[in-house]
């Protein structure tokens, strides 16, 4: 049962000025405990250790994605585009608002360490008994399922999926602008108002009027810059590595039956892979940080050292190499062992394959990955056919290797290393 709020509610937002809520359903979703939990999950994980302003939460990003989607739909309705199915507005707004619901604390690292997937959790929270589920069911019994299927891209109206998830969607537009705002870099800015004005529903998908091509180019360049300047910043990678090492070490210790001085549910369930939805919802970054603080006192030196490093930002240093083949990697690891260093905990190599992604690339599912222009004669063209700038950045792939290591330990052991390796790691000759 759908209903409009008697009076519009607004949130003050630094990026979009105001976020406007007009539907009772959206308002109720925001006030659930599952959605409020997103206040305690940072949008950019450990990036705050590189950019001290980047403490913004997934709560604010989710509101932002909702707001952009609302503006797009409102522009479609004002323009009277026949290709937009008006009755799909609410499901699109709900999917936009909830698309990141299942993110755990320090999402990327925890997912890697425990083989989880935030999208699965998002859909579980929507489908299984939860406050979110209860709010959605008030619309209709199958409404939760509809919202989940939009998020999983299996919804039977592809245009709705396209709106929420594509190469030029509300999600990407919000995070580029928001992350640029909170980190303080000025690479992420592009003319969103202009892009919103040139989006059009057309034959079952969202396209861009050709007159907006330059604004889209600018958006893609922002994305390119944000990836290299912010998302892949080596200091951020270094802190993610520490985090992953902590999860890994604790898991190992737990499996071995190590007696932790501090251990609290749902950690055991997490280690054993039996964590329930109820438990998952109580997981947040405050909990993880509080646990790490306790673990700085554990007897296992590797664990307590890593936790110290994370809490006090004593990250691993790194060197950058243009090339590094298997033989060289093996020799370096061998030298580390020789010097009494741990070949896994004291050295992490970030190879480009770990960062595989494409700023803009045509992929398997063309609807997802491509930006389609609509010219004056209603002809469709993929943007890289028309834009040389897009064509040229599409293929760029950076190929550096980053080697992360604990500076102090390496220094202490440097007399045991091959001097060539020592120099490679910028150690002064002793």
């Amino acid at each position: 049962m759908y209903s409009q709020l008697a009076e519009e509610k607004v949130f003050k937002d630094p990026v979009h000025k105001y976020i406007h809520v007009q539907d009772q359903t959206i308002w109720n979703l925001i006030n659930t405990r599952e959605f409020q939990r997103l206040r305690r999950i940072r949008q950019l994980g450990t990036s705050y250790l590189t950019f001290h302003g980047a403490e913004h939460s997934r709560f604010s990003h989710s509101l932002g994605v909702y707001e952009i989607t609302r503006r797009i739909i409102s522009q479609f309705e004002r323009s009277g585009y026949a290709d937009w199915p008006q009755e799909e507005g609410l499901v699109a707004l709900c999917a936009a608002l909830l698309h990141d619901l299942g993110h755990g604390p320090f999402s990327h690292s925890i997912e890697e360490a425990f083989h989880m997937n935030h999208e699965d959790w998002t859909c579980r929270i929507i489908r299984e008994p939860s406050e979110i589920n209860a709010v959605l069911r008030r619309i209709s019994d199958d409404f939760p399922e509809q919202v989940a299927s939009v998020i999983q891209k299996t919804y039977d109206k592809p245009i709705v999926v396209n709106l929420v998830s594509s190469a030029l969607d509300a999600d990407r537009m919000d995070y580029l602008l928001r992350d640029a705002y909170f980190t303080g870099v000025n690479y992420g800015t592009f003319d969103m108002d202009r892009i919103l004005r040139v989006l059009r529903p057309y034959k079952g998908r969202i396209v861009v009027k050709e007159s907006g091509m330059h604004a889209v180019e600018d958006y893609l360049m922002s994305r390119y810059q944000m990836y290299w300047q912010v998302y892949f910043h080596p200091v951020t990678r270094s802190s993610e590595i520490i985090l992953r090492q902590i999860f890994k070490r604790a898991h190992e210790l737990y499996d071995r039956g190590f007696e932790f001085r501090f251990m609290l549910e749902p950690l055991p369930s997490l280690f054993e892979g039996t964590i329930s939805m109820e438990q998952y919802i109580r997981l947040d970054e405050a909990f993880v940080q509080a646990v790490f603080m306790q673990w700085t006192q554990e007897k296992d030196e590797i664990l307590s050292d890593l936790c110290d490093r994370f809490m006090e930002r004593k990250l691993y240093k790194y060197i950058m190499l243009d090339h590094l083949d298997e033989v060289q990697q093996d020799y370096i690891r061998q030298q580390f062992v020789h010097a009494g260093l741990h070949p896994e905990y004291d050295l992490v190599i970030d190879s480009p394959t770990d960062l595989s992604y494409s700023i803009y690339r045509s992929g398997d599912n063309p609807m997802d990955k491509q930006i389609i222009l609509l010219d004056q004669h209603e002809k469709l063209k993929e943007i890289s056919e028309v834009s040389e700038i897009v064509r040229s950045i599409s293929g760029i792939r950076k190929g550096k290797y980053h080697l992360y290591f604990p500076d102090n330990k390496l220094k202490a052991a440097q007399h045991l290393l091959d001097p060539q390796i020592s120099r490679l790691f910028d150690m002064d000759p002793s």
Copy 2:
């Protein structure tokens, strides 16, 4: 032993663009565990529950205060002002950087609940054995004491105290700009560059050239607006009240010997007033939030309900009254008891005396509270002598009463209340 960094370090900052570190001492201070801890203390406490962008930390504010101080000193030196004692630069920068070091988690509420004072903690961390203390002592044995005395306003060069703490100091300038930026309101903006250009050291204090009067007026208006729009926002007050109630309830329960399902050091020490510096440094907002999450499961209903409210942002509602005398207060409380409500936990009255402060007012210590203009003929005038706008806002004192209460409980009990009281609290007649 003072030394300059081989290469200047910078932090990207959304408010000041870049924060520049040139001294080894400053760099070392930033990298201590005590200073890094400020990353886990929010600048605006619970304001993020009102303004979702306001997740910024005291770490970023402290860097900002340092940076503004650095710019002021650098302008003094460039201008060759004889009244500025150049050798005091480092002590001023250290005091600026460290002035908020002792803040605890959700500072205002925790200080009130446990009768602590963050400035005392700041000075303890500086004076007693700590990483901070060790860095400062490398300059000279009495350098920690000097820095602490600047913060305590007892330093023997009043101009240094004046620079770090006055009615127009780096602290206030940074927090107005920073809090405006992260909340997204645009009330806090004023022309800081202009103000920096018109500050002058003059006969042992910092004064403002009269040509900068309008910029100072604008700064004071920003302060006025930020207080009413952000710092005293009733929703923020409501969340602070919940927080204070939690601390109070837990303390009561602890004193009574209640058996907590979850209890962890340093909470017992905190309750008993025996918390050590080492323990205090490990206290942060992650810890407090993690504890509250655990306490949502405690058997004491008042405590678990309050913790639920805080974690899920189910805050108290409020009504606003222009007048409220003692007799009326007593009658309301009496009615609450009559309806089975708790007279303390279910009703909090925020009277204007709790908010006593002055946007701009001459006080006991004129050096602290006054802004002094220097005219072309080197005559000094207190700004409110010259500026009608300052004069007129100086005296403004708002006198509203806010009554905070749990909406749902009151609704459930409303049939037991005097209908007049019921109407007062916006309850519909049943």
Copy 3:
């Protein structure tokens, strides 16, 4: 005959991002020669001589006023307010767009010099045969008259007049934001989006919901600051004085039959007070500047010197006095004559009565001058009843005297002056 454009037209605008034109009539009005002429009239007259960015035209301001009015109306319609007469939209938009149509070059000075009034010219251009008139008549025969009467505040629907012209109207909001943007001062910023959201049509006038009071306070403070920082800047006053002196001198010379080396219509008609509308429309600032450049070569020294001063920005210096009575004025003028200076051209006294205005003041026509708040109980209150800050700035009246004079001439004559007068004008003793 009203019609909508097939496709919305947009103008890129630095202040409002985009200006949206949806009506054929608005589009046609913009393309008339009378409206295009506004490109050649600066919004801030001679202020560009003080703030070099302030070259923006009345064309851009007029578009801005139109755009804000459009947004207000669109918000009224979206909110479904019954008190807004929807059929009045077009007349309101036309009046907003055209309200400054009659401004001449360097408007304030030329009006003073030739006793003209820009509002009269605006209404003549609307009513008499012109391209503007032709476009408006296509709507209906009396439509030009309707638009003119809104501008003259005699239209029979006061709410429309109120929208276009009041203490918180689209005109003032645009010029504060625009003038702040182009001068580069940051005093003029306020939260326009917020103000637009709290405006409401209510019983025949526009009121402000009480929740928006602080945003309105901020707007009034911006106005206060802009007046003192920008509009009344003494350097700008100095350049306006030169301009007025040029017009006055040329008029005098013309009346005396002086033989100008350069004289071109419509100057003679302007001097004789017989200028026709056709001629008036061809008057612009390019013409005035080009004439002044020619006049730098005239034989009359007063005229050529004043023109040189204007073109090369060799303005009069000024001194500021707190008090200056008639006797003192007479003595100064007498001394000027004594020293061989011209008592009118070489000394201009700007007394506070010339600047009489009120930042915010209840006046004769309460609809014009007052900002009315609507509280939750639908009660109306004038803002200064509620806001202490408005109350306190309402009465502020600055009372300084500025004396403008040609520095070089005074220096040359200073040995002939009473030393006390010499000191008053900051002349060093010779």
Copy 4:
């Protein structure tokens, strides 16, 4: 004789906040009539007809270039770089301030029409008797020559030339930021503060530390976008074409002995190629606009129509073609003649060769055109060796043809045209 101002002077600037003047010489240069004249020359010529905010003058741009240069030099001095010759500061600042001094009204069009070159005029004003020359000579007799040779790139310290004029110079940085600000597009923004921090004097030229590569990429992308979005905007091209046609027609008429109703020096001298420096300095855009206004009344229909079009912004329409060979061009022109249209005045073809330029390209003089990075090991690399993004945009060359024509005339004559040509020009079949 060099001297510092007793008190720094500042200009409020929207782009750089404040422009700081510390040297007496710079202050005096700004106050010359030749420099003040730049207030009456727009930075972007006719672009204000496309972007109504773009009324900013070359005066403001010149101050901006000076200010950036000042900041670069000041950063060099603070950093104590041995490769920067400190004694060259003043000549660099003067060259930066004066580099655009010789621009005439609507520079590009007037230069094309009368085969003039603004750089030659700049150097004449500096070298020949003028207020500028007098100020510079006060430093030393050969100082004017030094400044002129920096502008002409023949100065014997290439590093000074490099600072003022290169692929990443103060000139380009200022105009991108300034033009973006005043047009209101947000393509021109890049992180100038960052770029200033990574510039370094190194072995006789200015290089960029490799760590700043991404900021430079962003700057180059801004340039790319500004060229296509603003500088080459077809509406701006259309207005430039009208302007060029006016100059051309007037010249033709003058040569033929046509009797102008309005003709004023220095137009005859301009037509005859005998314009003196004194006359040139009196030429400005106010003069040109005033003349065009008079010429709307000339008897020659081509001239009066073109002037009308320019003053009332009734520009030529345009169509865009991907390909257009000589044969096609000839056929179109032939058809125009056949239909009674003027083959030159009624059709202008803008071919890509007219726009020949390179966003970034290595050219004849590598110092001018290349951006050189300095890596950690003090190795120099041209940026496109390292940056794939620069490499990819370097080669982009757009190849469209724009055909400009008077819409109304073509419509009137369309029945005389080959229907295929008629369709090509978007004429509806009659």
